[in-house]
């Protein structure tokens, strides 16, 4: 049961990691890449860490329970820090004047 849950969560997380990393490569400009990087990372690392936290409860003991709690602390931290880091990077890009890619410009170039 626990193993099934772990596999399910990690595989889902891995799939999202994969999809958003593909997005990181394929998206046309800095801002839209940031969408892939910021959102994908948050959910997928949360899912994978949750799966691993559940797995470490596999052989239940107090020590393992604390390990799970620590992993959950990392999750809380990533939940707070990841959107903030995303914001910091995209703000830096905005401040330094990266032009956002828009459909209109694309058409104008054609």
């Amino acid at each position: 049961m626990i193993i099934a849950l772990t596999v399910l969560l990690t595989v889902t997380g891995f799939f999202f990691f994969f999809a958003t990393t593909i997005g990181l490569i394929r998206f046309p400009d800095f801002y839209s890449r940031m969408h892939a990087a910021g959102k994908g990372d948050t959910l997928s690392s949360l899912l994978m860490l949750l799966g691993l936290a559940i797995y470490s409860l596999h052989h239940f003991s107090f020590g393992n329970f604390l390990v799970s709690l620590k992993i959950i602390f990392i999750m809380v931290f990533i939940f707070l820090a990841s959107p903030t880091a995303t914001h910091a990077i995209i703000d830096a890009g905005f401040e330094s004047g990266v032009k956002p890619w828009t459909k209109e410009e694309e058409r104008a170039e054609e």
């Binding site: 931290f77 707070l80 914001h87």
Partner: protein
């Protein structure tokens, strides 16, 4: 060792190292070097060298990246590009590097294999450490007991080296002006983002407590004085990054900071000196059981290690803050990164 992951990470590291050297923009090089440190930490972890990995994570990935960025911020971002007349020197440099590399590779063949059980290190020294650590010092983490007890003299001078580095940075960069106090500079612009300020404000206490945990539990888990001190310094650096330099200096002014740096080294050497006063060798903590209440000589060594680790942590923290403040403000203590 897991060879699949080992291979992948090693390839990644080589890619990172090459691109960090190749790229012309220094800021990009610093950022890529951050990725290099991340991966290096992963490699150490995967080889089982947990304490080294911890140091790499704390120093390489976090603080040194910021130091480099601060240095680039205060100097220049691009390499001076000279197109002509350099080819000859480059050729010489390449030749020298190639020869050195070849000599190193040749010398490497005399080393024992990775984790070779018959090598001198693992047939004489390591078994002693592994079998005697618990009975000698009651410290489960062998790395800590080796660092702070068996080779305590070595670590003391490592701390002194870091201290010297901090003093050197202060000597070279610090500019004193007559009309200026410690907390000067009114034109400081804080980070223009309430989001980053609020989030890092909430995080700083947890980072500090985690750092103290790392120092206090160096006996049982990876970590210790160096790592804890760096993380503690990094928490102050985060305050400086998300607010401004003044809020760092309000918490840890220039004077107290230098005093703390001295105090750390003094604590380390002082514990050693107390051992001499009690009639034993320098840094032989077991004799401390005479002045510490309710401890036998084994526990005295354990507590001695803890005291030394605290000294290292204080010194490293103070030096990290001093280096950051001096580099990022050009030694003027007015405007940070």
């Amino acid at each position: 060792m897991i060879w699949q992951i080992d291979l992948m990470v090693l390839t990644l590291i080589v890619f990172c190292a090459f691109s960090a050297v190749m790229v012309k923009d220094l800021l990009s090089a610093a950022i890529i070097f951050g990725a290099y440190s991340f991966l290096m930490c992963l490699l150490w972890t995967e080889m089982g060298a947990v304490d080294v990995a911890f140091t790499e994570a704390a120093v390489g990935a976090g603080v040194s990246t910021i130091f480099m960025i601060a240095a680039i911020f205060r100097t220049s971002r691009s390499v001076k590009h000279r197109s002509r007349g350099r080819r000859f020197y480059k050729l010489i440099g390449f030749f020298a590097a190639a020869v050195t590399g070849m000599v190193l590779l040749y010398g490497q063949s005399d080393f024992p294999g990775w984790a070779d059980p018959n090598s001198p290190a693992s047939s004489h020294l390591s078994p002693y450490f592994i079998t005697h650590t618990i009975s000698d010092t009651a410290v489960p983490n062998i790395v800590t007991s080796v660092l702070a007890d068996y080779r305590g003299f070595d670590t003391m001078f490592e701390t002194a080296v870091i201290f010297t580095a901090g003093i050197a940075v202060i000597f070279v960069l610090r500019q004193y002006r007559r009309d200026q106090t410690d907390v000067a500079g009114t034109d400081e612009v804080a980070y223009q983002s309430p989001i980053i300020q609020t989030v890092s404000r909430q995080m700083v206490p947890f980072i500090q407590l985690f750092a103290l945990y790392v120092v206090a539990h160096g006996h049982h888990s990876p970590g210790g004085g160096f790592q804890g001190g760096v993380i503690l310094g990094a928490s102050f650096i985060l305050v400086g990054l998300s607010y401004d330099l003044r809020s760092v200096l309000k918490k840890m002014g220039e004077g107290p900071n230098i005093i703390f740096g001295n105090l750390g080294v003094f604590l380390y050497a002082g514990i050693g000196a107390v051992c001499i006063l009690l009639g034993a060798n320098f840094l032989d903590y077991s004799v401390l059981s005479r002045i510490l209440p309710a401890t036998d000589s084994v526990m005295a060594r354990s507590h001695g290690i803890l005291g030394v680790e605290i000294g290292v942590a204080i010194a490293v923290m103070a030096i990290m803050i001093a280096i950051y403040v001096n580099i990022s403000s050009h030694g003027k203590y007015d405007k940070g990164l």
